[in-house]
Symmetry: C2
Subunit: 228 residues, 2 copies
DNA sequence: TCAAAAGTGTTGCAAATACACCCATGT
DNA sequence: ACATGGGTGTATTTGCAACACTTTTGA
């Protein structure tokens, strides 16, 4: 049974429900998470994950999407529920149960728009060197990173972290940045191509060296496939 | 941020937080889930997962353990958070966000004690043939079964479904019941033994046929190991 | 002596790994 | 010409799957 009447007067459970979102991207070969500095509240000035209360008539997924900084522009962030944190004392102001989400975003620039948001500032921080975080958000990020690493191995979710077209080298760098270990170029290449997830674009990207063929994902929907 | 003040008067978010638990066991070669029939409420008489409101000073994990029928005797149920369901309309009485848990139990008898509980009746039902369930509990069970199947493959969690000592045949039957497919006896045996998770007890269990060696798990703590 | 489950060993295939060489480009 | 990353191929190992036979008990 999922019990409890709705009305505030009748309900003996004054818990508030919130969402917190750990949005990740990879920039400069480093896995980064989006942090925000709160203007007010018990942790004013601290870095924390973006988040906030769930509206009365709002689903959890909708709330997570809405709480993203510069939300409008960020409609194509991949979001997935992670875990729900409900220790009684996790928020000094009272009982707050927080549903944590993982977000994945390709283009880091899109999100940094400071906006006349509720946050004093917003920044992409490398997950390997995080500042002290408010609430239990350090634990949230740890869990989120673990989930991300695991899920890249058996899904095609990398597509959420890449632009439309990319080279195999870029794809490999991405995996290496997130998994934190080097991969054999030739084996990676064969593996990925054998999955038939990519479509060769025919075009080529020039650079300082030999131009690399461009690829795109055949499907940009979440699927489970054994990648590594 | 996980915001929101605690007080009921100040909070515009009258959401109640509940837990629902899908407890599984295997009996007679069939994966079964524990269902309860509510005495009252909008779904009185319907089958549903056991569950209920989270107390004010109670963690989610504690709430899940407490909501188990015949709770006292069931202290050694393995519990793990599954997913949080928060569609605004999922409870007809008002907004209830429900944190779903998966439970695993070895001894089916332990739990069936009807008890002067809040439930009219309690029963182990095969997951393959479930009655209509209250709320969104059909979806909860579906997700829970998927999680259970997946997790048996890369953890040692089977130990939660077995008594202290067991034969390799029993272990295999358990896997077959949950995965829903037959496994090669010899390969299964070799695989499992090579993991070094089991300790041979020396003793033997007699039966109508050739007696089988008894084993026990070296460690009864959750670990991740690639089982299949 | 028969049925039914326990226990053991081998073999072939397929996938993962490790590794070496040539190619195309900008500087 | 050379440094740098792109592209292709091959040998070896390792793990998985398929499979056949012997053993021990109760009935």
């Amino acid at each position: 049974m999922s019990t409890a009447p709705g009305g505030c007067a009748e309900s003996p459970v004054p818990a508030a429900v919130a969402v917190d979102v750990a949005v990740f991207t990879v920039r400069a070969g480093t896995l980064r998470v989006l942090l925000a500095r709160a203007r007010s509240g018990p942790f004013a000035g601290w870095w924390a994950l973006p988040g906030g209360r769930v509206g009365e008539q709002e689903s959890l997924d909708d709330a997570a999407a809405r709480e993203l900084p510069a939300g409008a522009a960020a409609r194509d962030v991949y979001l997935e529920q992670l875990y729900t944190f409900g220790q009684p004392q996790r928020d000094p102001r009272g009982r707050v149960v927080s549903v944590a989400y993982v977000g994945l975003l390709a283009d880091p620039e899109r999100m940094t728009a400071p906006a006349a948001d509720k946050y004093a500032s917003v920044a992409w921080r490398p997950v390997s060197r995080l500042p002290r975080l408010a609430y239990d958000h350090a634990a949230v990020v740890r869990l989120a990173v673990a989930r991300l690493r695991a899920k890249l191995q058996y899904t095609n979710l990398v597509y959420t972290l890449l632009p439309r077209s990319f080279t195999l080298g870029e794809l490999q760098s991405l995996y290496e940045a997130i998994l934190g270990r080097a991969l054999d170029r030739r084996n990676f290449r064969r593996r990925v191509l054998s999955l038939e997830l990519l479509r060769p674009l025919g075009r080529v990207r020039g650079g300082p060296h030999r131009p690399a063929a461009l690829y795109a994902f055949r499907s940009r929907r979440p699927m489970t496939v054994s990648v590594l």
